[in-house]
């Protein structure tokens, strides 16, 4: 059973092969864009998402699977805490690096 949650949650992880931050989507895939995140509104939904995420961990697709508080108040879903919001954007001191450039900035 998932931990008790006090608000909406999304699932954050790092890809195994390059360590880039990724977000679990409702279809069970991993996206470079936090706005694509599936959001769990309660413990049962978080359990479901974590089951999917942990399967991806076991399948060696991602590591460091972490449920984090989601900010759903704006136009796009984003991690609520600055630490995880930073993962969704990239280093604030290098505007030329990370997803703040574009979701596909390395392609």
């Amino acid at each position: 059973m998932a931990k008790k949650i006090t608000g909406p949650q999304l699932i954050l992880a790092n890809r195994l092969d390059d360590g880039r931050a990724v977000f679990l989507t409702a279809s069970g895939t991993w996206s470079n864009t936090a706005a694509d995140s599936a959001v769990a509104e309660n413990e049962a939904e978080l359990d479901t998402l974590m089951t999917v995420a942990q399967a991806a961990d076991l399948a060696n697709l991602v590591v460091s699977v972490t449920p984090v508080a989601a900010d759903t108040s704006g136009d796009a879903i984003a991690p609520a805490h600055i630490k995880f919001a930073m993962q969704a954007r990239g280093p604030s001191v290098r505007a030329d690096l990370g997803y703040q450039v574009s979701p596909n900035w390395e392609q």
């Binding site: 790092n14 092969d17 390059d18 360590g19 930073m86 993962q87 280093p91 001191v93 290098r94």
Partner: protein, 551 residues
């Protein structure tokens, strides 16, 4: 510089091959992350916020020009075109791919570099004075001893799983530029009354959440006894250091609990058992190591060089650079030069691949092919003829590397902070940038004089805030970045712990607070009194009043 022998090459190459196999097995799923994590950490590979981070060892901060070129190549080919020089005189890459890490390590091995023991609960990279072998004030070059410690500690089977990480620093000069009193073990080279060279041994220093200044436990340890004594020190710690709580596992906690006298007694008792078994290195081997660090063939020449004086009289910025970034060399007619990696508004410690290549070329042209990294996150050309200073400065300045602020307020240490680090609570780099933008007038900086600001984005203290004349510590206050202001620390021979002045600030308020503190200093200082001495004389109240008001 030390050059690998066949054993060194074989060991490092074998480690690369081993790690390549481990990465391959991880990618195939034959190793779980739980199994793989300690293996990657043993090879300096962390997982941070945006990507993996590879920390490459630069033993005692000494690099050849060719090694620097390789670091530039790695930045260009495998990373995002830059690297970050750290307070342990190492370099970190922020974007390597796991699958490419073995190739990076093989490229590094080709120039006698590696990432071994840059993480984990083992003996980390030994740090030293960035001017070692060049400084006019040193008793002896500490690097041969640092190299002996490196060889002794690398893959030491007994000390590969210590209670916690272990950091050793060594200085050859009475003026401590290596922060030895903030280390688990600090060694200070000195001469005794008969002229013999040995070490004062200090133990139990460290930063982190429990800052402690190391205590002296032996006034004079003869050089030939160094390794057996270190072995005794490590053994007592390894056996008795706490393993139940990582926050209480450093040697500083053990020594605080048992007292330095009891720790010394136990170390001496252990040493008596082992000092006659062959741990210490035979004199012939010591001489072989020392030969790698023989002084370069610098021709003695006059310290006064007309063209240098003329340019200094004509160009204030060059004059400032000469004063701040060029220091006294042991060979007359020469200087050691600090290349500031602290351009105003820049990221402390970062260098681009092009800048690294340029520094390598300048080292070949002007500094006997030698480069150093300082724990203050700058680069050093240790052996520059004074007549070459104008040409060197012009080339550095053109590449954005000529900032004349070494040792001044804007020569800030800052950890990567929340911009990169998974442990951080707040960002550090933007605070450093804001301060350097606020204090961007070189004349004002030179009027303020020596002032060390050190910024950490969490209590782990990678930014050395406890040792800052002005220290800044980032804390998470209910999800917001908040910055505490500390005053009065020192990482030098007069080491002291900075004290928190009062409640914290947001990212704008902390810069205002620093400016108010500096204004108090300028108003209250006597004659040539430094900021630190003024703080020590005045105490915190006058600063507190200026920063927080009287209410």
């Amino acid at each position: 510089m030390y050059a690998y022998d066949t054993y060194d090459h074989a060991m490092v190459n074998a480690r690369v091959a081993e790690f390549r196999d481990q990465v391959d097995r991880r990618m195939k799923g034959e190793l779980t992350e739980e199994e793989f994590r300690p293996l990657r950490l043993m090879n300096g590979l962390y997982l941070q916020l945006h990507a993996y981070m590879l920390r490459v060892a630069i033993p005692y901060g000494t690099l050849s020009a060719d090694q620097m070129r390789k670091l530039a190549h790695v930045a260009r080919r495998y990373d995002k075109g830059y690297g970050h020089f750290t307070t342990r005189q190492n370099i970190q890459y922020n974007w390597p791919k796991l699958s490419e890490t073995p190739d990076i390590l093989q490229e590094l091995a080709d120039v006698e570099m590696h990432a071994i023991q840059t993480s984990g609960n083992c003996i980390r990279n030994v740090t030293t004075d960035q001017f070692a072998g060049a400084a006019a004030d040193e008793v002896a070059d500490p690097r041969p001893y640092a190299e002996l410690i490196r060889q002794w500690s690398t893959f030491h089977p007994e000390f590969s799983f210590l209670p916690r990480k272990f950091k050793i620093a060594i200085t050859g000069a009475a003026q401590d530029r290596a922060a030895v009193k903030w280390h688990d073990i600090g060694l200070v080279l000195k001469k005794n009354e008969t002229g013999e060279i040995g070490f004062e041994v200090l133990a139990g220093g460290g930063m982190g959440r429990t800052p402690v200044i190391a205590k002296s436990m032996r006034d004079f340890l003869p050089v030939p006894d160094m390794l057996s004594y270190l072995e005794a020190m490590l053994r007592v710690y390894n056996e008795q250091g706490r393993r139940d709580n990582k926050y209480k596992a450093r040697i500083k906690i053990l020594i605080d609990a048992m007292g330095i006298e009891e720790y010394t007694r136990q170390v001496n008792a252990e040493w008596e058992k082992i000092r006659h078994v062959p741990i210490d290195v035979p004199e012939k081997e010591v001489a072989r190591i020392k030969a790698f660090f023989a002084p370069p063939p610098l021709a003695v020449s006059a310290d006064d060089v007309a063209e240098v004086t003329e340019l200094a009289n004509a160009n204030f910025i060059f004059k400032a650079w000469l004063n701040n970034n060029a220091g006294a060399h042991k060979v007359p007619g020469h200087a050691h030069v600090t290349i500031s990696l602290k351009p105003h508004g820049g990221i402390p410690g970062d260098a681009s691949d092009a800048q690294m290549d340029l520094v390598a070329d300048l080292a070949d042209a002007y500094s006997q092919g030698e480069i150093r990294v300082s724990h203050e996150q700058n680069l050093i050309l240790p052996h520059v003829a004074k007549k070459d200073l104008p040409a060197l400065w012009a080339k550095l300045d053109e590449a954005g590397l000529g900032t004349a602020n070494a040792g001044l307020l804007t020569d800030i240490i800052a950890c990567p902070g929340l911009d990169y680090c998974a442990l951080a609570n707040t960002r550090s780099i933007p605070i450093a940038q804001s301060i350097t933008e606020r204090f961007d007038d070189l004349k004002r900086l030179m009027d303020i004089g020596p002032l060390k600001i050190k910024i950490s984005g969490c209590i782990n203290s990678c930014g050395h805030h406890h040792a800052g004349h002005i220290g800044i510590l980032g804390v998470d206050r209910r999800g917001d970045e908040n910055y505490q202001l500390l005053l009065g620390g020192s990482g030098a021979e007069d080491a002291s712990k900075a004290a928190i002045l009062g409640p914290g600030f947001n990212e704008v308020g902390i810069v205002d607070a620093v400016e108010k503190v500096v204004a108090v200093y300028l108003g209250e200082r006597e004659d040539e009194e430094s900021f630190l001495n003024a703080y020590r004389r005045l105490g915190p109240d006058v600063f507190k009043e200026a920063v927080y008001g009287t209410d």
